[in-house]
């Protein structure tokens, strides 16, 4: 039983990253119907901006957080302006392929410039250390990551549910043309959506650095797929569903690995894809209500 609890607790950090990214996915998906595969690159650039500020230039950590968020927002908006805006409205598949292309471009460029080796991500001493409860070990950084994630997610759920901006977003998500005739500035709302999504990507990038202590140029490839599946399972466009299913997926795959013979540990990606197929075939709208945020 202790082993089970330990595995669940260990998965919380990873689950938070997946949940944050899934939220970003679900936002862009809900508002303009875009499955943004380039989102993993936004996340990666966020982590690299923090890395350059903190480790290379030796600036304090809060400057790192700031540069990370600015970097993520800049790259997110650049991709949106150059790649997605011109093909908006030409179908989901075209948008999907465009985002795949943008993702591959940014990833290969960053591998070209920063190479693909692991880079040491310096975090303040405060984040390391453990709590002990009998046999169970809880990493301090896991708790911290969980708290940060929950805080931001509650803020976002409040924003989407209760503010004028959130109502405009939901309106565009239902029907962008009608909400435009009703006086919603669609273009502005889309840009704000991308800024929020990139903001979450930047935070996830820093949290990844804190959690693993190292970053690399191709790190966006795996969490982006997990987060995408989490957003589909949660019901696309549903922020709360995305958060919950992000944690469910992370804890599930952690347990899947924990109870598998040790030579089959590499089968981790299999779990999320099997879940994905089962959900899509038997409950295509996701675990939670889709299209209502």
């Amino acid at each position: 039983m202790n082993y089970f609890i330990q595995q669940v607790l260990n998965a919380l950090g990873w689950g938070s990253i997946i949940a944050l990214l899934a939220v970003g996915y679900t936002m862009t998906f809900g508002v303009i119907g875009l499955v943004n595969f380039a989102y993993g690159e936004v996340f990666m650039i966020g982590a690299f901006a923090a890395y350059f500020a903190v480790t290379v230039l030796n600036l304090p950590f809060w400057v790192g957080i700031l540069t990370s968020l600015i970097g993520a927002i800049v790259i997110g908006l650049t991709i949106e302006r150059t790649a997605f805006k011109p093909v908006r409205g030409s179908g989901m598949i075209t948008l999907f392929i465009t985002s795949l292309g943008a993702s591959i471009i940014v990833r290969n460029l960053s591998i070209m410039f920063f190479d693909d080796n692991l880079k040491n991500f310096k975090v303040p001493k405060f984040y390391s250390g453990v709590y002990l409860f009998g046999d169970i070990i809880i990493l301090k950084k896991n708790i911290l990551i969980l708290l940060i994630t929950i805080t931001f997610c509650i803020m976002l759920v409040y924003l989407v549910k209760n503010t004028k901006l959130g109502i405009a977003m939901r309106g565009i998500s239902y029907d962008s043309k009608i909400s435009e005739t009703l006086g919603v500035n669609t273009e502005r709302i889309i840009i704000i959506t991308f800024i929020i999504a990139s903001f979450f990507g930047g935070i996830a990038g820093i949290l990844w650095g804190i959690l693993f202590g190292s970053i690399r140029a191709s790190m966006g490839a795996i969490p982006v797929v997990d987060a995408f599946i989490a957003s589909v399972i949660g019901g696309v466009g549903n922020v709360f569903g995305a958060i919950v299913s992000g944690y469910i997926l992370a804890i599930g795959s952690s347990l899947f690995i924990a109870y598998l013979p040790s030579e089959l540990v590499g089968l981790k990606p299999l779990f999320i894809w099997v879940v994905f197929f089962i959900i899509l075939i038997f409950k295509p709208s996701g675990l939670f209500r889709a299209n209502i945020k």
């Binding site: 093909v87 030409s90 392929i97 471009i105 290969n108 070209m112 990606p269």
Partner: protein
């Protein structure tokens, strides 16, 4: 009778001309240019077989890498010399596979059949997904196959991969298969089956109301596509001479997708044009990736430049001309004269 005679003359002439051209090319081309020409042929095979799904049926698959992987592994185990197979210690395969080495043609057919079975296994669950969910599902199939190949070293030798694959690929195999594929797809496009495929792509519910059995024709399309995709992959590994689980990953499939998007979805001539453009640019940019000296200035190594370039090409194409160079038209005599 005159018509029949004319048709016979036409075919004999075409086949004879092809033979002559390939014979001359075999004598003339060497080294880099020969490889380029072979890659061009293989890319045509891959692009056209992907186009049957993505262009005609209208289901955007990016999971053909999994099919390629199955076909390539099956064929590789059949053609690799027994000495190499004996050298791998933890390989647990039936003895008859370890003890045979067969020529390319049966390996192509067996690999193709296994590829077809994989394609049909893929399509049965994936057929229920719509639009981009199908994309995502096939992407998942690709990742699942790569993961399985990496994690079952008893069957696939794991991440170590297979080497010592005999160099069987030559102009005759590649271009024989390519011309055969072009021919049958051109025939297919005018036949009942091909028109059924295209009508499913335009509107599948309308097609169903017109009396087309959706499941049956989707399975047909995936079968044909998977068979030739597997053959293309087998020819590829017998040219590259090694096989790793990540050989046919998303980047590889992305190249093929770029070909058909550039050329035009649903057009066979478009696929050929797209294959030509992509092959040419990849092989021309590849030397630049290694770094070179330009007027005394050392240009640094830039690995991944080809992929970046293809990505830019794809996005520019989707923005400026979403239907591709050819759209869904074909090059024919009427087309060259400017008629529709």
């Amino acid at each position: 009778m005159i018509l029949v005679k004319k048709i016979i003359e036409k075919y004999i002439l075409t086949v004879g001309l092809c033979f002559l051209i390939f014979y001359l090319l075999e004598k003339l081309l060497t080294g880099f240019w020969l490889t380029l020409f072979l890659l061009f042929g293989i890319n045509i095979i891959l692009a056209i077989s992907l186009n049957i799904i993505n262009g005609w049926i209208g289901f955007f698959s990016i999971g053909h890498g999994g099919i390629m992987l199955v076909g390539a592994y099956v064929a590789a185990f059949l053609t690799i010399p027994t000495s190499f197979k004996a050298g791998i210690i933890n390989l647990h395969l039936p003895a008859f596979i370890l003890n045979i080495q067969i020529p390319l043609l049966p390996a192509l057919l067996i690999g193709g059949v296994f590829g077809t079975i994989t394609g049909i296994i893929l399509v049965l669950p994936a057929i229920r997904l719509r639009g981009f969910y199908f994309c995502a599902g096939t992407l998942g199939f690709n990742i699942i196959m790569t993961t399985l190949a990496e994690n079952f070293p008893k069957i696939t030798n794991g991440p170590m991969g297979l080497r010592d694959i005999p160099s069987y690929t030559n102009i005759w195999w590649v271009w024989g298969v390519a011309i055969f594929l072009i021919y049958i797809t051109l025939i297919l496009k005018k036949s009942y089956i091909g028109r059924a495929f295209i009508s499913i792509g335009k509107d599948q519910y309308l097609a169903e109301h017109m009396g087309i059995n959706l499941l049956k024709y989707k399975i047909y399309a995936f079968g044909i596509s998977a068979f030739f995709t597997a053959i293309g992959a087998i020819l590829w590994i017998h040219l590259i001479l090694n096989l790793f689980p990540t050989a046919f990953d998303l980047t590889f499939v992305f190249n093929v997708v770029t070909m058909i998007v550039i050329g035009g979805m649903g057009s066979i001539s478009g696929s050929i044009i797209g294959a030509a453009i992509v092959t040419f640019f990849v092989q021309v940019i590849a030397p630049i990736e290694e770094g070179f000296i330009f007027f005394g200035f050392q240009v640094p190594q830039a690995l991944g430049l080809t992929t970046v370039f293809l990505g830019v090409l794809l996005i520019v194409m989707l923005i400026k001309r979403p239907e591709g160079i050819m759209g869904d038209r074909e090059i024919s005599f009427n087309f060259l004269k400017g008629k529709k």
